[in-house]
Subunit: 335 residues, 2 copies
């Protein structure tokens, strides 16, 4: 467990020497810098030997997850997979809150031999059980990537949605360590589960109450979110009144309405605001629930917590298992 | 079960003949009228033989409970207990929504012999198992009344708060049918239970989130409500941040602030509005919960549902048991 991380750095340096120029313009937060992770502050942490391989950068969700890992004291693996259309290159991921940063060499998914070789090198240095992958790639890559993780016996957190989810379930059977969830926002999953439990435990507790739903998302989102559908399902079970999501939900998709609804100007292009209201038939009682998310941080931090959870289970020596965010939530506070 | 209600009416007429003038000014909703209940519409109901003895009128909460019973198709017993300082009299209770009304003779609690005699008459006509009491009296009457219900083997719903609750628990042991709850507002109890479950299942799920609480009540309420304290307990367990209810809750107790907070002008003297907000450390995620109650209707209707629940249990032939509002909620929709 207390192995030095020196061999990893050596592997990384070899990568850097052979790295061609990046084929994309690095966004503000990635700067090609030193290959050395800032690790001093995490040496006392239970995660000091863990290396998180973030796959899907420079995509915004994978990058946000990598930043959240740095913020929460985790170290990034010096390599990660990227899409087949991205040329191999090295980026620097930086978390602005803590100032922690890390260089990551992106390996195109067309070069899986290189990916395997680098994983081998990484594990040789870090220890077999000390690498966990995060996947925020593309729906079309979900199933292939999952099979690769299983083949490599690489524990992973699958945050990418889409793909063939049934096949995913079959491919990643018992014996493998994984967290698979369509929504990595811990707090949102918790709220959703609480409402589902409430509807199951106390059916028709709000019998006759009228449900009103207003939600705002970025203009590019055509439909209502899966979270809204799930929450509406529970609330309409509580009110015992059918609610047609498509015709009855008030969807805001223009900037002026979203701003009025409380969305920050900066978040007009990426937000998920929801207000549900249950009103008693005579109007004397009103319950209102809002969950308002700007940006990707809540999902990114939930992903980092899922990594911590998975690593904890691995170190407890248990048999591999596929977990959900509910399991992560049940674990409670993660150091 | 299908006994005619005629004997009850006969008992009631005897009461009316011997009734002195009411010793209080009848509020708008009670009018001394005919002694005949409007019962035609409930003859097909499973509650057609049930007579609800509402104790504590003309107090506003007992009166609201009686109106809720009428609204929900239940018949009132023609007698009810009132305080020792109220002279015996007959009032009419009317539910404005349905137009249903009932005359109820109030028997002062100093005349418990008369109360017993009238209960005996009522049961002789209606059937032993067909009378259930509701208690919205006074904290000082809670324990004495409960002992009387037990002595009379009269199933009851205790909505009165205060008194010695431990003694109450001891006095009303197994074998007696009762619903005892400090809050009869079904929907509020459900929400409170859901948050408590959430905090138990997913401790620290909102770790680091900041909690803000604003509540508004009528000017005469000095402290924060028990519901707010319970909800804050759950939310601060979820955020894993201590919250001092007394110093950190923003309490609104003046009309202007309450109106700004959304309270109707008519409800300034009787409302319970609460807004809880959980905000992530970086401000990108916000959850908000509101429960806003005007008047007494939510508690009154929960009480009527508790009566229905209790009567259902009695008719199922089960052994007597003391239930809570959680049990009522678990039962789901009540016809």
């Amino acid at each position: 467990m207390a192995r030095s991380s020196l061999p990893v750095r050596v592997v990384l340096l070899i990568f850097l020497i052979s790295s061609p120029a990046c084929s994309f313009v690095a966004p503000k937060l990635y700067h090609v810098r030193s290959a050395m992770n800032l690790r001093a502050s995490v040496d006392a942490s239970p995660y000091r030997d863990l290396h998180v391989m973030v796959n899907g950068m420079p995509g915004p969700m994978a990058t946000a997850a990598a930043q959240a890992c740095l913020r929460k004291g985790l170290s990034l693996a010096p390599v990660g997979l990227t899409g087949p259309d991205v040329e191999a290159c090295t980026i620097e991921v930086k978390d602005e809150d803590t100032g922690r940063s890390a260089s990551v060499r992106l390996i195109s998914s067309v070069d899986m031999d290189e990916a395997e070789a680098s994983l081998l090198g990484l594990r040789a240095g870090a220890g077999e059980e000390n690498v966990v992958a995060i996947d925020y790639t593309h729906p079309s890559a979900v199933n292939g990537n999952a099979r690769w993780y299983v083949e490599q016996r690489l524990p992973f957190v699958m945050g990418t949605t889409g793909g063939d989810r049934e096949e995913l379930g079959r491919d990643v059977g018992e014996g493998n360590f994984a967290v698979i969830a369509p929504n990595m926002g811990k707090q949102i999953v918790a709220m959703q589960a609480a409402l589902e439990d409430l509807a199951n435990k106390f059916p028709a507790a709000f019998a006759g109450y009228k449900l009103d739903v207003t939600e705002s998302h970025q203009k590019t989102k055509a439909d209502t979110s899966g979270t809204a559908r799930a929450v509406i399902g529970s609330l309409s079970a509580l009110s015992a009144v059918p609610f047609d999501v498509d015709s009855e939900t008030k969807m805001l998709r223009d900037d002026a309405s979203s701003l009025d609804f409380g969305v920050s100007k900066d978040a007009l292009n990426g937000h998920a605001f929801h207000t549900y209201r249950l009103t008693s038939p005579d109007g004397s009682v009103r319950f209102e629930l809002q969950h308002n998310v700007e940006g990707r941080r809540v999902y990114a931090e939930g992903t980092a917590d899922a990594v911590k959870f998975l690593y904890k289970k691995i170190r407890e020596g248990k048999a591999g298992k596929v977990y959900s965010m509910i399991n992560v939530l049940e674990e409670g506070a993660l150091e």
